[in-house]
């Protein structure tokens, strides 16, 4: 196909000429046609006009959604009890907000506006420091050390924000697209969306293993090029497998031990759209908290992976592609909405 060709080809020009002619006579034809239709309808028994258009015709209304069941009463309810930071508040993020993690004493660590900002659980801003360029996610160890991930790179900080190290992540040919990071057992776990795996590193950056590659597709299915995960108290890694609409669970040696979830638009326990859930967190009691896009919502699944609660889309921006989630030591859910640049706390009521 030659896209530089601007002049009309003979048959296309003929088409256009016919089109213009037809447009000239169109108003008159429409009036006559409309009169005919009305007259025919009036003469028909019952007088009903004929059906508008067939379902396949251009411009036909899209198929209606199937009748949805009334939402079942879920065992748990969550209500928003606090806003840690938001527009107009001290420590607000004016340009962007992209990462969330909880540290010692449930302090909220957030990444945005080229900074790492630390808030007390009550919302008071306690420290800030400059984040690495183009940092996209962060993780906090139980002792307060912080890891920030950016494209192909991990940077480590002490609990006071002093840089204590860093290393390149991924391979030389394909640097890691770091979309999530956790510090667990003196290891740095890095979600590499480019390779579709989770990489295990020691604190010096030596790779110890890869998680997620031992499956049929050699990695997670990530149409949205984003991978998130969290680690529970027993050391099991729970990761989003968005293309499969699942949360999959893995041991540190890379063996998959469990999975749950499926696609569905009608039942609230299912995951909607092309690729969900996009974010995940584990509660101290083993419940799993997921966040979805398209219908921006957060859901809580119990230890048996039954749906316990839904925090509805009314709390989030409808354009939100990632609702970052974390769960504190007493089970409160902390969410970061990058579109509204707001971090909020939800408690079970």
């Amino acid at each position: 196909m030659d896209s530089n060709k601007v002049g009309p080809s003979p048959d296309i020009a003929e088409d256009a000429r016919r089109e213009r002619l037809s447009k000239r006579w169109l108003p008159l034809a429409s009036v006559v046609g409309a009169f005919g239709v009305v007259a025919a309808a009036a003469l028909r028994p019952g007088g009903a006009p004929p059906a508008a258009s067939s379902p396949g015709a251009p411009g036909a209304a899209p198929s209606l959604p199937p009748p949805t069941e009334p939402p079942p009463a879920l065992p748990h309810q969550y209500t928003r009890t606090a806003v840690v930071v938001g527009p107009g508040m001290p420590g607000e993020f004016r340009r962007w907000l992209s990462g969330l993690a909880l540290g010692p004493r449930d302090a909220v660590y957030a990444l945005g506006d080229d900074e790492v900002r630390v808030f007390e659980a009550g919302g008071r801003l306690t420290r800030t420091w400059k984040a690495p360029e183009k940092a996209s996610c962060l993780g906090v160890a139980s002792d307060g050390r912080v890891a920030a991930g950016s494209s192909g790179r991990v940077d480590l900080y002490s609990n006071t924000g002093v840089r204590i190290g860093g290393f390149a992540a991924g391979t030389r040919d394909k640097p890691a697209d770091v979309t999530a990071i956790r510090l667990v057992r003196d290891e740095v776990l890095v979600a590499d969306a480019a390779a579709r795996v989770i990489r295990r590193y020691d604190l010096r950056g030596t790779e110890r293993g890869v998680i997620g590659a031992k499956n049929k597709t050699g990695g997670f299915m990530l149409p949205n090029r984003s991978l998130d995960f969290d680690v529970d108290a027993s050391g099991v890694i729970h990761a989003t497998d968005t293309g499969r609409h699942q949360v999959t669970s893995w041991t540190f040696d890379g063996t998959m031990v469990a999975s749950f979830g499926k696609f569905g638009m009608a039942k609230p326990e299912d995951f909607v759209g092309c690729c969900n859930p996009v974010n995940v967190a584990v509660a101290p009691d083993g419940s799993i908290v997921t966040a979805e896009k398209m219908i921006a919502r957060v859901k809580v699944y119990g230890r048996d992976r039954m749906l316990l609660a839904v925090i509805g889309p009314e709390h989030f921006d409808p354009m939100c592609r990632h609702i970052h989630v974390a769960v504190d030591s007493i089970g409160r859910i902390v969410t970061a909405d990058p579109e509204r640049r707001t971090i909020a706390v939800f408690e079970r009521s």
Binding site: M1, S3, N4, P58, S63, K216, R244, G273, C320
Partner: protein
């Protein structure tokens, strides 16, 4: 004497005619080149896929077509632009309805195929331009946050007649039809897209 005069007159006239023809030709070429320096195109950032591209073009089958940017596409199994995700699921739990009323969006598995579980496959989506009416239903369904926004509407220059009476430009409610400079080149890639992945390779591999 009169014979010489006639010959001179003849040469003079011939030179004038040739000169004028050359001048006219040069002017025509210049005008053509100047007009090719800018063309109309759809700005995907402001386009709302409102369906007016389908109905407002001077052609009976609009010169505006949907194209898929493979670099942005997620190669989803459950593509919200391909299948109507709200339609009744089939026995495998996959929505049975399609978004495109003309069935112009086609897909095929890329890379290794898992015949047992379609969730393990990546799919490449292309637009059959002969069927596409430019209604933009797929484009709308692919917009973020539901999709990656890889599908967009484009004026196809092999179809556009360059009539200078662009009905779409007048009708567009979001002023998404813009003039794009084209210094001797296509302003945007063609052929329904955009760099394809290497044959037999999965995306993201």
């Amino acid at each position: 004497m009169s014979e010489t005069s006639t010959r001179r007159q003849f040469i003079d006239r011939t030179c004038r005619v040739v000169g004028l023809a050359a001048l006219g030709g040069a002017a025509g070429l210049l005008a053509r080149r100047t007009s090719a320096h800018a063309v109309f195109q759809v700005d995907p950032s402001t386009c709302t896929a409102c369906d007016l591209c389908r109905t407002s073009c001077v052609l009976s089958l609009s010169a505006v077509k949907a194209v898929n940017d493979f670099a942005k596409c997620g190669y989803c199994m459950l593509c919200p632009a391909y299948m109507d995700v709200t339609s009744q699921p089939d026995e495998k739990g996959i929505p049975s309805g399609k978004v495109c009323p003309q069935d112009a969006l086609k897909r095929r598995v890329v890379g290794r195929e898992d015949p047992d579980d379609p969730n393990n496959n990546y799919y490449e989506y292309t637009v059959d331009e002969a069927r596409c009416t430019g209604c933009g239903k797929c484009v709308k369904a692919c917009k973020p946050p539901a999709g990656n926004g890889s599908l967009r509407l484009e004026i196809r220059y092999d179809r556009c007649v360059g009539c200078n009476e662009c009905g779409i430009l007048i009708a567009c409610p979001s002023t998404a039809i813009v003039r794009v400079p084209t210094p001797g080149m296509s302003p945007l890639p063609v052929e329904g897209g955009h760099p394809r992945p290497v044959e037999g390779e999965r995306p993201n591999e």
